[in-house]
């Protein structure tokens, strides 16, 4: 292994610029840029460059803080959770505590330092492995954030001066938060590559024991890094809040893995002792350019993960080959190094194996597709250059949710009938930051209309206003943004309507009295929290004899809903009604009730007819409340298409096969929620 520490020999320029084999990554980045400049629309522009930079600031900060930690051979998995906790505390102090912004930010920073300190103490004083400690504090910090906010509290309405920090531009071009990233890059560069402390960190990474004999205060150095990591994570949290305009307990979920990916992609060794700030920055941009480029080229965003994986294996793999070829250290490991020919065979075998895996996957799913009625319109359709047809870009809250998948079926149908091209993209889980990112990408690309199912109204409204200012038509569907941020809202049902319908249906089954339990999605899901709010209201006002015994999260996971329902049935034997308000969770609850043989327990909920048909016929699920999701997707795209052509009426619009649809103000009304039950569920297929 070589590092920048070998000082007393002349080195070729390549090693001076790329001491750690980063040239492989730099090359990969250059290739990415070259490809996307060709196939992406408006990719190779200055404004898009700054857009990419702007969206990678929070992640970049975390990755920078992670770099020296990994150089000492440690890891910090808790950074994403520290972000969530800091964001929430910042919001609480500002809104509920009435503190000034600066003081609240200071307190958030202090809290980040404390959280980092806790990690540091456990790791250095108790000699616990960093992986275990930060795995535990990952749950702890996120859990405290959820506890403080009850998952639902969403702090927004921050003053414009503060939001400039995350949304403004210096001189109209350079994003404000870019300065923070630059400062952090500078600071960490000095720390790692230009200071005595930095050299000791490499020494610690190579051999903690040896470093100690060399007189390095190992524990103090390591503690400093975790402390810094907590502090940097809370800075990232404040920027995140300013960027999105909201502080919520789910801030930064999953960022730890993204940060680690950037760091290892940048050539930092997970065993410690090797790594550079320069490499981490390259790694960071290799990932964000990939995401941005795929979006601008309207390629399916799932390619991001696949390509990230490939780039990761290739760059690190090539880096290792190079290291092996040039190294003349006579370690045992090297003594049995394989010949290049053997290595080539092996690489072929590995690539072949991956192809088989990929092939079987595609084949597996092909065989499942026709029967399931999944749309076979993905790459081929979106790949087509838009030509003169208008482009409608449509975003669900979460791409993997069966609810949104069924909306997409209608959307594709409308796109075909109305003669527009449809781009379907969005986050894979509930993620407000990702939604903003996708919309920013569409603005840069220059689509004709944007249709969004909004996760966070305050956060996305700013971006949607920007889109409208550029002449893009904006429609919201499923969940609304601020009224001035969009042209129309396709209103399928109000949260009030859903909450009341569910409670009324449940009360009918229970005869107006008894205990019930709710299984929700993730605790922080905005929609579900709004529905529950109205459910509470309705129960309090109309059914005083009904009592909510328990509310449990399912995280939109069928298996978790199953386990939670089983537990509820046992802990609260008096519960006679389970209300499950997450589409994938209803089959889980139903299966749990069925397996428990509790014929006296009713299950109702919000889900898709196709997922529940069997349980409805078995008499386990009494009612599923939903609107026609296909029609919702259809109406959304049709409205967007009419908007682009300027053919929307004042009180109604002609939406293809749906005929005349009522328009109230700026809301397009789909109709009332349906109640699916044994009698009618077979008439629907979605």
């Amino acid at each position: 292994m070589r590092t920048s520490l070998a000082l007393n020999q002349r080195r070729p320029w390549r090693e001076i610029c790329f001491p750690n084999g980063e040239w492989v990554l730099a090359l990969a980045l250059a290739v990415e840029i070259a490809i996307f400049a060709r196939i992406g629309e408006n990719f190779f522009t200055l404004s898009n460059f700054f857009e990419v930079v702007r969206l990678s600031v929070e992640l970049g900060l975390l990755a920078l803080a992670m770099t020296p930690i990994m150089i000492t051979g440690g890891i910090d998995l808790s950074v994403g959770s520290i972000m969530g906790l800091s964001a929430v505390v910042f919001g609480v102090l500002w809104r509920d505590g009435g503190w000034p912004i600066a003081a609240a930010a200071g307190a958030a920073l202090l809290l980040g330092c404390l959280a980092g300190l806790l990690n540091a103490v456990l790791i250095t004083k108790l000699n616990l492995p960093p992986l275990i400690v930060t795995l535990g504090s990952l749950s702890l910090f996120r859990g405290i954030a959820e506890g403080i906010t009850k998952g639902a509290e969403n702090y927004s309405g921050f003053p414009a001066g503060f939001l400039r920090l995350g949304q403004g531009y210096i001189g109209g071009v350079v994003p404000v938060q870019f300065s923070f990233l630059l400062a952090a890059i500078g600071a960490y560069w000095v720390l790692l590559h230009r200071s005595a402390i930095g050299r000791t960190l490499y020494a610690v990474g190579f051999s903690p024991g040896g470093a100690r004999y060399a007189g390095i205060p190992v524990q103090r150095r390591v503690a400093l890094l975790y402390f810094l990591s907590g502090a940097v994570a809370s800075v990232a949290a404040v920027i995140y809040v300013a960027h999105l305009g909201q502080a919520k307990s789910d801030a930064g979920t999953g960022y730890e893995l993204a940060a680690i990916t950037a760091v290892v992609l940048g050539g930092t060794s997970v065993f410690g002792g090797r790594g550079t700030v320069w490499g981490t920055v390259l790694g960071l941009f290799a990932i964000s350019v990939l995401q941005n480029g795929l979006r601008l080229a309207a390629l399916p965003s799932e390619m991001t993960g696949v390509l990230t994986g490939v780039v990761l294996v290739l760059t690190i793999g090539l880096g290792r080959l190079r290291g092996r070829a040039r190294s003349n250290q006579a370690t045992i490991d090297e003594a049995d190094a394989m010949k290049n020919s053997q290595l080539a065979i092996l690489c072929c075998a590995v690539v072949g194996g991956s192809l088989i895996v990929a092939g079987t996957n595609i084949w597996l799913v092909r065989s499942l597709r026709p029967a399931d009625g999944v749309l076979a319109t993905t790459a081929a359709r979106t790949l087509a250059k838009p030509g003169k047809r208008p482009v409608v870009a449509m975003m669900p809250k979460s791409k993997g949710d069966p609810y949104f998948i069924s909306c997409r079926a209608g959307a594709e149908e409308a796109a075909k009938e109305a003669g527009v091209d449809l781009i379907w993209d969005g986050p894979t889980g509930l993620d407000a930051a990702k939604q903003n990112e996708v919309v920013e990408g569409w603005i840069t690309r220059g689509v004709d209309a944007i249709a969004v199912s909004v996760e966070n109204s305050a956060g996305i409204s700013t971006v949607l206003r920007k889109a409208r200012a550029r002449g893009i038509k904006v429609v919201t569907w499923d969940a609304d943004a601020a009224p001035d941020a969009r042209d129309y809202f396709i209103n399928q049902a109000t949260p009030e309507g859903i909450g009341f319908t569910l409670v009324d249906e449940g009360a009918r089954l229970l005869g107006g009295k008894g205990e019930f339990a709710i299984i929700t999605g993730p605790l922080s899901a905005a929609n579900q929290n709004a529905w529950m709010e109205f459910m509470h209201q309705r129960v309090a006002a109309q059914y005083p004899e009904m009592k909510l015994a328990a509310m449990r999260p399912s995280d939109d996971d069928r298996d978790k809903a199953f386990a939670e329902t089983q537990t509820i049935l046992k802990v609260y034997p008096k519960v006679k009604l389970i209300v499950t308000i997450s589409a994938p969770a209803v089959p889980g609850s139903a299966e749990a009730v069925q397996q428990a043989g509790r014929k006296d327990v009713f299950v109702i909920g919000l889900s898709l007819p196709n997922l529940c048909k069997r349980y409805v016929h078995d008499g386990v699920v009494q009612a599923v409340v939903l609107w026609n999701t296909k029609d919702l997707g259809y109406l959304t795209v049709y409205t967007a298409a009419l908007l682009v052509e300027g053919r929307t009426g004042k009180d109604s619009l002609q939406a293809g096969r749906l005929g005349t649809v009522e328009v109230r103000g700026s809301q397009v009304i789909l109709g009332k929620p349906f109640i699916f039950n044994k009698g009618n569920i077979d008439q629907y297929d979605f």
Binding site: L122, L126, N127, L128, P129, I132, L135, G136, L138, L140, R142, G143, E146, G147, V204, V218, V222, L257, T261, V264, F271, M303, G305, V306, T308, G309, V310, V313, I316, G317, R320, I332, D333, M338, L346, A349, V350, V357, T360, N361, I362, V365, S367, L368, D372, T378, P402, T428, A550, P553, D557, R558, E564, Q566, T567, K570, V571, P587, G588, L611
Partner: protein, 320 residues
């Protein structure tokens, strides 16, 4: 004895503390039905953890198991819909898992990319690949004999639990008493020494990854047969649960140290906390915080004792 098994002992103390509180406050926790449901709910974590122990014992890590789990689940359903009887479909899914494990293993063992990098790459690539091809659709309309392997529910549960128990006991015995088990410890303790002792450390590393893949496949099958449909997003976050159970169970992340018995205790502790909090009537909002606190407390307990017992060993402070 006490020194060697201090992590196991602090785990047992933690579990006993929780159990004692439950016995007083919520005796309903100990009904047979609840114990059975708990065991079945934690079966996937347990089976995957059995593979993960081996991987971590060799000094590697596999964070792609959650994605493998999802793919194997879908594969089970697809095979079943092609008309294979459920047990055969299950074997097919295990093979798919082994295939994915072999890609991981080959990259780690012979191309010598660090395992966290390889499995990070396969984690995102496999997960997004599955999303890409399924577009999120669930596998539905499974043949009628699919659920419970075509047996009764009770029989199927006994079969699953029996398989898991045989696997756990067999591996616990084999790790100590078979050459194939001891080479895992040898490789993890020192690959170079292992090599000089006539072991092929690369083959060992490759084998444990393949085995983990196959076990992940088996876990996916056991889980899939309990339901009528198979979601394509299964196993999100499974890797963290499994790794937490293994390291809390006292397996050293640097390799070479740890037991199956400790891992079982780790799975038990983490599996009991969640439902126990529900039984004790805690609000769902604080549950994660309490879970995290208990994990930290459990692992800190033996560390504090070591410190007070003997002078801390500086080298062990920085595992790779």
């Amino acid at each position: 004895m006490l020194q060697r098994h201090r992590r196991e002992i602090s785990l047992i103390v933690s579990i006993l503390a929780i159990v004692a509180v439950l016995a007083v406050v919520a005796p309903g926790f100990f009904t047979f039905a609840n114990q059975r449901d708990l065991m079945l709910a934690n079966m996937p974590v347990l089976i995957v953890a059995l593979g993960m122990v081996l991987v971590i014992l060799t000094g590697q890590i596999d964070i792609s198991v959650g994605s493998q789990f999802a793919i194997c689940s879908v594969a089970t359903g697809v095979f079943a819909r092609m008309g294979l009887p459920t047990p055969l479909a299950g074997v097919g899914a295990c093979l798919v898992g082994a295939l994915m494990g072999s890609v991981n293993g080959a990259l780690v063992a012979w191309v010598r990319i660090p395992s966290i990098v390889v499995t990070l790459a396969t984690m995102v690539a496999l997960r997004d690949g599955l999303r890409w091809v399924t577009q999120g659709a669930w596998v539905q309309d499974l043949p009628p004999g699919f659920q419970w392997f075509g047996q009764s529910q009770a029989a199927s549960e006994v079969i699953t639990a029996g398989c898991a128990a045989v696997l756990a006991v067999g591996m616990n015995w084999g790790l100590r008493n078979l050459a194939a088990g001891r080479v895992v410890y040898a490789t993890g303790s020192s690959p170079n020494a292992a090599r000089l002792a006539g072991i092929n450390p690369r083959l060992v590393v490759f084998a444990v990854f393949v085995l983990t893949g196959a076990l992940t496949g088996f876990a996916a099958v056991c889980n899939a047969v309990r339901f009528l449909q198979i979601p394509s997003n299964a196993g999100i976050g499974l890797e963290l649960k499994v790794i937490a159970a293994v390291v809390v169970g006292g397996v050293a992340i640097s390799g070479g140290r740890g037991t199956i018995a400790g891992t079982l205790l780790g799975v038990l502790l983490l599996g009991v906390i969640g439902p126990a909090l529900t039984f004790l009537g805690f609000s769902a909002y604080w549950e994660r915080a309490i879970e995290g606190g208990i994990i930290l407390a459990a692992v800190s307990m033996d560390a504090v004792r070591v410190r007070s017992g003997k002078h801390a060993d500086i080298v062990s402070a920085q595992p790779a």
